[in-house]
Symmetry: C2
Subunit: 152 residues, 2 copies
């Protein structure tokens, strides 16, 4: 994980579809070298995949929210089951299992506030392990695509 690897990772986080040649040219190395580095990064698990980013609104998801759940009992089995359940719902994009006042935070997106409300009522209120939840509608969000390695 030297400076060259960092640069490759940085570039591919920004644009995963630039050609290997262009990337190699930008870094001042041979395409074959670049290719081998990228393969090593994948093999080592540094790069885990390549994904297209999609505008949620184009997928009829105009409302996003973070839902904060309190779950009881707080056993491994219950947490695991709820996590799996939530992650399987199409409205859910991310499930966080967390410390603090809440036990689970779920990022959801829905076509409308109505849909969101119905979704929450239908999918969560009936579940026994859910003792309560709060909804934080997302007004804006900025996502930092490029993660740099941090110094220890």
């Amino acid at each position: 994980m030297d400076e060259l690897d960092s640069a490759i990772v940085r570039h591919l986080q920004r644009d995963a579809r630039q050609t290997n040649r262009d990337l190699a040219r930008a870094l001042g190395i041979a395409p074959s070298t670049c290719l081998e580095r990228i393969r090593a990064l994948r093999a080592r698990g540094v790069i885990t995949g390549y994904h297209a980013a999609v505008d949620p609104a184009a997928l009829n998801r105009h409302v996003q929210a973070l839902i904060h759940f309190q779950i009881r009992p707080l056993s491994r089995a219950v947490i695991e089951a709820f996590k799996t359940y939530a992650a399987g719902l199409p409205e859910v994009s991310t499930v966080y299992v967390v410390t603090g006042g809440d036990d689970m935070i779920v990022h959801v997106s829905a076509p409308s506030v109505d849909h969101l409300h119905g979704f929450l009522m239908d999918k969560f209120t009936a579940r026994r392990e859910v003792v309560g939840f709060r909804t934080s509608v997302i007004y804006q969000h900025t996502h930092n695509q490029v993660l740099e390695p941090l110094a220890p």
Copy 2:
């Protein structure tokens, strides 16, 4: 945005680096058709980019957390300034501006709990607009890479 477009988006969310030929073959269409569809999806803003996903641990980010902020005064200028400030910090990956008990939720990752603590103390406690914040350490998180279009 017909079924074919949806399928293309689904495939590219899963793997943005599969060749156009493979994708076309999987969908049973000609590569040229596939290419034109993808271009249209980009032009329409459905697909906004292609990004490599990176293991945070490989970038020395072993601890992740969601930080819940209360901000005052709740003016547009203050919110905007804080959002910009937070998004510019290397530890921050996402900033959510939200409704509810909190005004802003920030996803951060750091090398260690110590680093996280120092980071929070150094970067946020001194700021006037921050009247309080709570930290939720993330134990696990599952990210759903593939967003499907939702029916209205």
